[in-house]
């Protein structure tokens, strides 16, 4: 045989030698590996490109640019970091070669040592097992592997699915009540207190030329708002930094535009109640006015298209804001009484303004803004009017379900939270509806109702666990699961502005311009009071560190003001 017997003297010495070499080389390799791993860590930690300490020092210097001490600190830190960084670079460079040599010697000597020891194989038992069994085992193995692969393949779509961060997304405040029309701000760093009279935490306030009850919509450095009187309808773009009007554009969509809609309460609903909607993808904004004018403008104020939908017959004035979904702009144009059969939900092509579809609605005039509810089975448009909450498929306008639960004239828009639709109205009740039904689901899908201190104008607010609603000063908090009222408080003021949530605070703005901030807990906790300084009927808008509120005459930008 080719193998030497282990008792051979020379061979024993050879084995000893190779084994010794292997041990030494192995220890050396291990040592180099440890040194390199350490250097690796130091190298990563001392990377001056993005070292947190250095960045912090630099930030300090930016505030206090004259401090020689900080400068010295930076220089010292920088020098240390760089020295470590480049030192470890070199160590890694040379270490790699040492490692190769060490590992090579180790592998070589170990292989020799092993081969010197190797005894010739001695097959023990006669070959067991037969081909049939082996084949069966093999087939079973393949079957198991196939099943495992199938499972893996089926799991891939789930694993690679991009999780939507919509709920916490820093979505832009691109329309009425911000992301998902929820009234919940993704930005939590807004001031707790401010004073519009004294100018505390007010970045700027500017006069909005024409009156309106539309709330601001915010896109980066632009704030859009509308204003109108009997004759003129205007869109304003404010520079968020300076507060000045970047452009204003007056809208006259068609020959019918000049007709003054009847019955509009100029000081209440105003001629400009619908909030503008921003389409960030195509860099456009959509606006609507009480006279039935709908327009699409680009961000520079150029009109892309405009249509006149006919003068709405609405005895307070049309107030529902347009809603954007994919390529469609929805307008809930409810008018007259239910018998007039004038009401409809209209979808316009957002690119051209051409009508995509129109679904007649069995209701009279209404004021709530519809919402898009991202229900698991697909998006739905939820509309509220007396007496129905109706859900439509946004793709074709087909009715999905309806609930008969509302009564009387009402302004609150529905909300969608934790898989439930909450709809309410002053003279009926608040209903929690499961949105997975078909047809009339009044009897089957209403989880709970509650009928005290219902809102007249303000839309409800919900974080999925609790539901808040603001009646005429009476603010109540319900459990979203059961509809049980947890607490309520009378603020002894009148409210039109819908409650808005930013982090763990709820902002409530009274019609007189008093601002109450309460906590979001299961117990009532009033956090602070602030003053806007003028009447306010609109809902606030939020941006990074900022809050925009439209008062009766001014637009306020509220931001923490550094000293």
């Amino acid at each position: 045989m080719a193998y030497a017997a282990p008792d051979n003297k020379w061979s024993a010495a050879w084995r000893q030698a190779t084994l010794g070499t292997a041990v030494v080389a192995g220890a050396f390799t291990l040592f180099v590996t440890i040194v390199m791993a350490r250097s690796w860590r130091i190298n990563a930690e001392s990377n001056p490109t993005n070292h947190p300490e250095l960045a912090a020092l630099r930030d300090k210097l930016a505030v206090d640019s004259t401090s020689g001490k900080i400068v010295d600190e930076i220089r010292e830190k920088d020098l240390l970091l760089r020295r470590e960084f480049f030192r470890t670079w070199r160590i890694l460079d040379t270490g790699a070669w040492l490692l190769l040599v060490g590992a090579g010697v180790f592998a070589g000597s170990a292989a020799l040592a092993i081969s010197a020891r190797k005894k010739p194989p001695m097959p023990a038992a006669p070959p067991g097992g037969d081909d049939l069994r082996a084949g069966l085992l093999g087939r079973m193995g393949i079957g198991a592997a196939a099943i495992a692969l199938t499972l893996a393949a089926l799991a891939i779509p789930i694993l690679t699915r991009e999780v939507s961060t919509r709920s916490q997304a820093k979505g832009l405040w691109s329309g009425f009540r911000g992301p998902g029309s929820s009234g919940i701000s993704p930005y939590t760093n807004v001031p707790l207190t401010f004073d519009g009279v004294e100018g505390v935490n007010i970045a700027w306030k500017v006069v909005v030329p024409l009156k309106g009850q539309s709330s601001p919509s915010v896109w980066d450095n632009r704030v859009f708002i509308t204003g109108a009187n009997k004759k003129t309808r205007e869109v304003y773009c404010f520079d968020a930094l300076s507060g000045r009007i970047t452009w204003r554009k007056s809208i006259t969509a068609g020959p019918g535009s000049t007709k003054v809609p009847k019955g509009v309460m100029e000081d209440d609903t105003t001629y400009a109640a619908p909030t503008p909607v921003i389409d960030t993808e195509n860099k456009r904004i959509y606006v609507m006015f009480a006279n039935g004018d709908v327009a699409c403008l680009d961000v520079f104020g150029k009109i892309v298209w405009q249509v006149h939908l006919g003068t709405p017959d609405n005895f307070y004035g049309h107030a529902a804001s347009p809603v954007l979904w994919k390529n469609s702009l929805f307008i809930q144009l409810d008018q007259g009484s239910a018998d007039d059969k004038l009401s409809a939900l209209i979808a316009l092509n957002a690119d051209t303004g051409k009508e995509l579809w129109r679904t007649p609605r069995p209701v009279g005039s209404s004021w709530p803004t519809p919402i898009i509810a991202p229900v698991a089975s697909g998006d739905q448009i939820i509309t509220c009017a007396n007496p129905f909450v109706i859900s439509y498929n946004p793709a074709d306008g087909k009715e999905l379900w309806r609930v008969d639960c509302l009564d009387g004239d009402g302004g609150p828009s529905p909300i969608y939270a934790a898989g439930m639709v909450f709809a309410t109205n002053v003279s009926s009740k608040i209903a929690a509806i499961r949105p997975d039904g078909k047809g009339d689901v009044t009897k089957t899908h209403v989880q709970w109702t509650f009928d005290e201190d219902l809102p007249d104008t303000c839309s409800p607010l919900s974080d999925g666990k609790l539901v808040w609603m603001m009646s005429e000063g009476e603010f109540s908090c319900l459990d979203a699961k059961t509809g049980k009222r947890l607490w309520h408080k009378d603020f002894e003021a009148s409210f039109y502005s819908s409650p808005a949530m930013a982090g763990d605070r709820i902002y409530l703005i009274s019609r007189k311009g008093k601002v109450y901030v309460v906590g979001t807990g299961r117990e009532l906790k009033e956090l602070s009071r602030a003053v806007l300084g003028e009447g306010c009927d609109t809902s606030p808008a939020f941006a990074e560190g900022r809050m925009y509120i439209r008062g009766k005459t001014h637009l306020y930008c509220i931001e923490e003001q550094g000293q």
């Binding site: 001056p48 490109t49 760089r82 480049f86």
Partner: protein
């Protein structure tokens, strides 16, 4: 010796035929692969298209080498020799501080060196040994004349079949170029003078 191997059995005949077919198939495969425009006898190497590069910094962190093969390069024919260089100073540093130290400098490793030439003109050079390819200076220079750009140092590049920086490049600026013309200058090299 395996006797069956030499015998002209049916199986062996089949095998020989199939082998021939396979060899021919492989040849055809090779020809198909070679028919493309991209084929060349030259080796292809990786390079950055500076017109697409956004200086995101991934070059420094995503190379398979600890010290990235990507380094900053300076097209001197485009440099304005500014006093206040956007690639040298942090943009917040107010005014020209010829005495300013690291606290106002962009380059984290001091690879971007400034030398006074005449009155208000400075020469900026890159110490290749210190450059990590982070591209911060390139980003800064985009505000100015754009004379700084990132390039793959061909002597360092491993020329991997799949470049890991290329896969991580957000601007898809990594492309292959023939090895005998590996560098990409937006402007003509300084031929005159």
């Amino acid at each position: 010796m395996d006797k069956t191997q030499d015998k002209l059995t049916r199986r062996n005949f089949l095998r020989t035929t199939t082998r021939g077919v396979c060899a021919a198939g492989l040849g055809a495969l090779a020809l198909t692969a070679a028919r493309g425009k991209g084929v060349s006898m030259r080796r292809m190497v990786w390079q950055i298209d500076p017109t697409k590069c956004t200086a995101c910094g991934n070059c420094a962190t995503h190379c398979v080498l600890t010290e990235s093969a990507v380094k900053c390069a300076h097209d001197f024919s485009k440099c304005g020799r500014c006093n206040f260089c956007f690639g040298y100073y942090k943009s917040g540093s107010s005014g020209a501080k010829s005495h300013a130290g690291v606290e106002f400098q962009l380059c984290p490793t001091h690879a971007f060196v400034r030398k006074h030439v005449v009155e208000d003109s400075y020469e900026y050079t890159i110490d290749i040994d210190k450059c990590t390819g982070c591209g911060i200076c390139v980003k800064g220079c985009k505000e100015g004349n754009g004379s700084l750009f990132l390039q793959v140092d061909q002597d360092r590049c491993m020329n991997c079949n799949e470049c890991t920086i290329a896969t991580a490049c957000p601007a898809q600026a990594f492309v292959r170029r023939p090895a005998d013309d590996p560098y990409w200058l937006q402007q003509r090299p300084e031929a005159k003078s």
